[in-house]
Amino acid sequence: MSVSTAIARETLLDTPGLSEGHLTQVMDRLLSRQVDAADIYFQYGRLESWVLEDGIIKEGSHSIEQGAGLRAISGEKTGFAYTDSLELPRLLDAAGAARAIAQAGQNGARALPAPAAASQLYAPINPLDSLDELQKIDLMRRADAAARSADARVQQVIVTLVAAHDVILVMDNSGRIAGDVRPLVRMNVQVIVEQGGKREQGSAGGGARQALDFFIDDDRALGYAREAVRQALVNLDAAPAPAGLLPVVLGPGWPGVLLHEAVGHGLEGDFNRKGTSAFTGRIGEQVASTLCTVVDDGTLPGRRGSLTIDDEGTPSGNNVLIENGILKGYMQDTMNARLMGVAPTGNGRRESYAHLPMPRMTNTYMLPGQHKPDEIIASVKHGLYAVNFGGGQVDITSGKFVFSANEAYLIENGKVTRPVKGATLIGNGPEAMTRISMVGDDLALDSGVGTCGKEGQSVPVGVGQPTLKIDQLTVGGTAA
């Protein structure tokens, strides 16, 4: 048994006084003759957040999220109930409610093949205790000071520091029990700058499945502060972005949100089982330029999007989605994998015990290519160079995706010239991927800030890419 599973058993079974016998009793209630699969998911979550604003520690908050979610699956049907109490009678009630889905026709529970043991990708620590309160406050104050001393035009600084400690335990109908201890920390610096009555904002941050020391190491917190100020000042000087079809060069790292929106969601197993994705039925086909190899990799140690095991107990994987432009596979949870006759890929994720698992991304990125970033920019006569983005959105059925640049520049005659603002990019996923004509050798992952929303559920994710060029994309600025 892994250290994480041992901690999870102690936290979620021993402490509330649940024995294996009790679990078997709950599982027996959940299973009926018609149920194909069932699981019980226990969660113990603690989160602490701090806010510095106007130079003072303005707020602090502590959150408890704890409970169990019970699921019974019969064919394509799912019954689900959850409880915030880990007491046996409440678990039995929830099991009774969840099993009501199973009515007819199936063959009874099938045991899953036991997956290989997962290797631990982060230490099973409680990051809330990784610094004491005075150290947390000092860290935030130093970030505030770094932002204010970076430039006299800084008017407002908001620093947030969040540490989350999640312990999960999942038992499936084969009796397999797997646990995970998931630390997650996040820090952000947001600034408002002002010059001659004109105001702009900038924001930077990072995070990881690590202790809070992560932000002290390499002076990361101070780096976020300076980066937020730099971004805000760039935008102070920015002119309106152009409007129309242009070549677009995307910088390395966080702009990989392109991949998340343009292809990632469309390759989630549930949409493809249901035939609602623009990528449905296209495995083996060319869906991107041959320069593109895209993976979803939950196995990167310590990354925000990484998972030792997913929320169904399957070890995460390094799954190739697109290889040299050819669609290789989808991301799967156990239910969609079973219904599509493929193996689960370790992408079954849920926001909490109170949500159903679905196929979700982990860290999605494109592998590096041959070109130097300078060569890529030099190849563009008139275009956009976008290095930082806000969020994005996709309609997986039509393939339309959009994402908004919050730091972008014009490229004129092969050179990056002036900053522009208000550039929203819109395109069609498969089409845009086919128009990728140059891929850089400078793969970078984002700093650990991504959160992905799907059907009302938020989960932490990572993205990344090298510098790349899309020959044509619609840029939605206001300048002619």
């Binding site: 408890i64 915030d84 129309g244």
Partner: protein, 443 residues
């Protein structure tokens, strides 16, 4: 299940919490407790797909030691979790700074009586009955047009909730509420093209929900109408935001006049009270006391009495949206806005949707907005969009993969008309908004 009787139990929890906070040394405290149970049934392609029994509890407490503040919340309402939470809030307050603006809302503003806004109408239906309604909805959608080839399903969701808020001024108030909704999303196919769209309704009272068939047909109609979408050349032209996407423009306005954005000077509507920000015919109000409405509440999240209010009159901004904290930062008084705007409405300039299409003559009708391209600090606005191209005052064909862009400050000032077509679900009542000129980017 949350019944009015349960409110008494929640009230006890809140009172215990406030007492516990005082015992741990807090000078002032406020707490809220909520409980919710519900049933969500999704059908897809004529079969039940998921039956979800929801049951959520939540408790939040904020303590004040002088002007220092600490907060905690928990989904676990057992006594040990409550004790842990109060202790955590008190511990945090040892480390936060003295903040002159921190504290409870002004006691003089507390709601004195809590009117019954008729928000509790439970729907006792079984999972089977819920599935039957959702099936009728999806069937109406799938039967609407042969091009409806696939479905994401239809979902009936019914929930009942109760909550109590109390603070150490002695204010305690709460009430039960219900919400019921039915939604449907389908997919139309033609050749290689696939388009998805949806429709829904929600209400406090089961009998006020639109019929399952009507919701299904609307979902199908909206989906089929997207087929054969074309791109559009980049241009400047009039843009009409259809009523179902227009609420997002009001939400941008509300985001820009939120007290927290104002005191942080992070809004393009800084220092605009008393200033003409819309044409003089524009009137925007909020009415938190509307019976049975989606966002009704007799008091805000700090116990402050809510009231009917003009936000914009004669095109002039009348005030900000202030909770007690932002109010103190700005030297103003809370407007009962902790928790947001409740039941906002913009008055129509009188034209029907068809009349607006004729009036615009040519341009884009926006029926979908995508992405987050709204910068409330500068007002810069650039969103992904889909909709229809209008020529000669008539809708000609669907358009997609375009963006619409301008600055919100200019858009608000140059608003041409607001339609009378405000029959949309949700807490914001608005018709379609017509703008004379925006940049539309395409190919």
């Amino acid at each position: 299940m949350s019944h009015p009787e349960q409110i008494a139990r929640l009230q006890q929890v809140v009172e215990d919490l406030l007492r516990e906070a005082r015992q741990q040394g807090a000078d002032a405290a406020e707490a809220g407790v909520s409980t919710q149970t519900g049933l969500s049934v999704t059908v897809r392609l004529g079969e039940t797909e998921t039956i979800e029994h929801t049951s959520d509890n939540g408790l939040g407490i904020t303590v004040y030691f002088g002007q220092r503040k600490g907060s905690a919340n928990t989904t676990d309402l057992r006594p040990e979790a409550i004790r842990e939470s109060v202790a955590a809030a008190c511990r945090i307050a040892k480390y936060t700074s003295e903040d002159p603006a921190a504290g409870l809302a002004d006691p003089a503003l507390m709601a004195r009586d809590v009117p019954d806004l008729d928000l509790f109408h439970p729907w006792d239906l079984s999972a089977d009955e819920a599935a039957q309604i959702a099936l009728r909805c999806e069937e109406a959608a799938r039967g609407f047009d042969p091009r409806i080839a696939n479905s994401e399903g239809a979902t009936l969701y019914t929930q009942r909730s109760g909550f109590i808020y109390g603070n150490s001024h002695g204010f305690v108030g709460g009430y039960p509420t219900t919400r019921h909704s039915l939604s449907c999303a389908v997919i139309a196919e033609q050749g290689d093209e696939m388009q998805r769209d949806y429709w829904y309704d929600s209400s406090r009272m089961p009998g006020e929900l639109a019929s399952a068939e009507a919701i299904g047909r609307t979902a199908a109609q909206r989906t089929v109408a997207r087929l054969n979408g074309r791109k559009l050349g980049t241009r400047e032209c009039p843009v009409l935001f259809r009523a179902d996407v227009a609420p997002s423009l009001l939400r941008s306005l509300f985001g820009a006049i939120r007290g927290h954005a104002v005191y942080r000077k992070s809004t393009f509507l800084l220092d605009q009270i008393g200033v003409q920000i819309f044409p003089d015919w524009v009137s925007i109000t909020e009415n938190p006391l509307l019976p049975r409405a989606a966002a009704s509440a007799p008091f805000d999240n700090e116990g402050v009495a809510t009231a009917y209010r003009e936000l914009v009159a004669g095109g002039v901004l009348q005030g900000y949206l202030l909770d007690s904290y932002a109010a103190r930062k700005l030297g103003m008084q809370s407007t009962g806005s902790a928790g947001g705007v409740r039941n906002a409405r913009i008055a129509s300039s009188g034209q029907s949707f068809d009349e607006l299409v004729r009036e615009m003559d040519h341009g884009v009708v926006v029926t979908e907005l995508m992405g987050q391209g709204t910068n409330l600090v500068t007002g810069d606005y650039s969103r992904g969009a889909a909709g229809f191209w209008v020529e000669g005052g008539e809708i000609k064909y669907p358009v997609e993969e375009i963006t619409v862009a301008a600055n919100l400050r200019d858009m608000f000032r140059q608003l041409v008309a607001v339609g009378s077509d405000d029959d949309i679900p949700g807490s914001i009542k608005t018709g379609s908004w017509l703008f004379e000129r925006m940049t539309v980017a395409g190919d």
